[in-house]
Amino acid sequence: MHWIDGIVQGVLLGGLYAQYALGMALMFGVMKIVNVTHGDLVVLLALIGISLANFAGLGPWAVLATLVPIGAALGWLLQRALLNRVVGNDPLPSLIATFGLSIALQNAMLVIWSADTRSLSGGGIQQASISLGPIFIGVLPLIVLICATLLTGGLDLTMRRTRFGRSLRAASADVEAAAMVGVNPRNVYAAATAIAVGILGFAATFQAMRSTVAPADGPFQLIYAFEAVIIGGLGSIWGAFAGAMILGISQAIGFRISPGFGILAGHLVFLAVLAIRPQGIFQRKS
């Protein structure tokens, strides 16, 4: 029962990681770039949300409704002002540029919000749980998981069914050919990053409600998102979701083996997947 509980809690934790991972999978799928500020943006949005709650008296759902458009705007701006200049075959410029921005962002947040850990009050929802026999399931983690599933399904449908999704896939497959048939890659890229960071608005709200955030946390969220994407298989939206579940379960079981082993267990599973199935668990060999 101890282990079943671990798996259940891991799946719930995976719901949060899926929200980190979706945007990264989308951006890498479309542009082949990694935005090193990915995790710092989660923290930035979360801190903005906590300040909104404190000073404007917003409730958690109002914070969520505000953070998603703020995230989308930040993503659009990031792509327009910075990333569009460094998209290309060479991975170095985009990586270094966002790496530098990540250091600047972390320290700017440190100046504004100090190093304290903060969290967002959920109005009692954090303590609520439902019991399935001997296993207790938190209501909030369940909401996070449902939200992650809906976001994944929605993003997947958008990619497969809509005109916008087609232009994203076209730009991803061959950007020059896509440009020839009337897709403006810069707009498509900006929209992709806006969606990616907009989803981080969900992740930020739930992260701040479930646990705490501090300005230096970003690199960890980046690493979890990255591990989920690689475990699941590059470029696949549902793969990233499944990868996040596997990462969450690995960490939850690791924590039950020894408190110092939880995060490390996630890293080890990631390395094991690289060793055994480098294309990711849910990706067929191309």
């Binding site: 460094v86 530098g100 962002l105 320290n107 060793a275």
Partner: protein, 334 residues
């Protein structure tokens, strides 16, 4: 008789070589002319130059971007502490023996991570460094999160330690800068430069890109580890967060991007700038790091060649010339 010859050395290069040699001799002789504080500063600066130059070889020439070089800093430093403190090996010998650890570790790391595409490789190195930090935190042999002290150093006098630090700093510079220069002048250097400019074209000319990348990854792991062992020997104390500190990657990337990627001169310029910036503005903490991060960003966006790249546009006087030039011999009628 050939009408042409290939020239590599320039006057500026010869001058720089003389200065470089003089600097190394000066560093070796530090215990007899410099204060304790100056020796410590020079050792720190040498470590910065070494770590940055290793990242430069990796990213600037090998085309392999890593943000997890602190993995090798920490592994070599911990290996040195264990050899010297736990097994009683002479600490100065332990510095060199400890370099086996990053060399051995680099092979499986590269083997696993090279399956990832460019930018993902870089984040993968970060995961490895994080994993190693957590392993060190959980290992009772390394005294876990509490860290270790190099108490065996008390058997040496202050003067003996100063001599060792100075010699190690000089050796570190000789190996990382001198070694890189010799490598770049050799036929491997031509292969590396070709690979930097275009890996596909280099492969079509017979360069074994995969093998060369593995070799450069191992070599830079050893060089980075050397810097780590020297740095933490001077610190006398090590903990997992300090050994596997991401700021090693930050400083390497800042130094190389601001100084100028793909050049040895840029690394020296960048390291000196970083060293003094850290000294003068380090007290401003966060705001200073904001500027550092933004400078890295601006260099990556607008000044890909950094300071040395800008300077070279005006003055062509390389300190470490690697370019081969064809010179027509005098007296020939063409």
């Amino acid at each position: 008789m050939s009408k042409y010859r290939v020239a590599r050395m320039t006057l500026s290069g010869q001058l720089a070589l003389v200065l470089f040699t003089a600097a190394l001799v000066g560093i070796c002789a530090m215990p007899w002319w410099a204060s304790q504080g100056l020796i410590r500063d020079v050792v720190t600066l040498a470590c910065y130059i070494a770590v940055a130059q290793m990242w430069n070889m990796l990213a600037g020439y090998g085309g392999v971007v890593s943000v997890g070089q602190q993995a090798f800093v920490g592994v070599a430093a911990y290996a040195m502490f264990v050899l010297a403190q736990t097994f009683g090996v002479n600490p100065f010998l332990a510095v060199f023996l400890s370099l086996i650890a990053p060399a051995i570790l680099a092979v499986p790391i590269y083997g696993l991570l090279h399956r990832l595409e460019g930018a993902y490789f870089a984040i993968g190195t970060w995961v490895v460094a994080e994993a190693l930090r957590l392993v060190a935190t959980n290992m009772s042999m390394l005294n876990g999160g509490a860290g270790m002290s190099l108490r065996v150093m008390t058997q040496f006098s202050a003067h003996e330690r100063a001599v060792a630090s100075s010699l190690l700093a000089a050796a570190l510079l000789l190996v990382t800068l001198g070694g890189s220069y010799l490598l770049l002048r050799s036929r491997y250097g031509i292969a590396l430069t070709a690979m930097r400019d275009n890996p596909v074209a280099a492969a079509s000319q017979g360069v074994d890109v995969g093998r060369l990348r593995l070799l450069i990854f191992i070599a830079t792991a050893v060089g980075t580890g050397f810097a780590g062992a020297v740095y933490f020997m001077a610190q006398l104390r090590i903990t997992p967060p300090s050994a596997f500190d991401a700021s090693w990657a930050n400083l390497a990337i800042f130094i190389v991007m601001v100084g100028g990627i793909g050049s040895l001169e840029g690394v020296i310029i960048g390291a000196v700038i970083y060293f003094f910036a850290d000294r003068w503005f380090g007290e401003y903490g966060a705001s200073y790091l904001i500027v550092l991060g933004l400078l890295t960003l601006v260099c990556a966006l607008y000044f890909r060649g950094g300071i040395w790249g800008l300077w070279s546009k005006w003055v062509e006087a390389p300190w470490f010339p690697t370019r081969r030039r064809l010179i027509r011999l005098d007296g020939d009628k063409a």
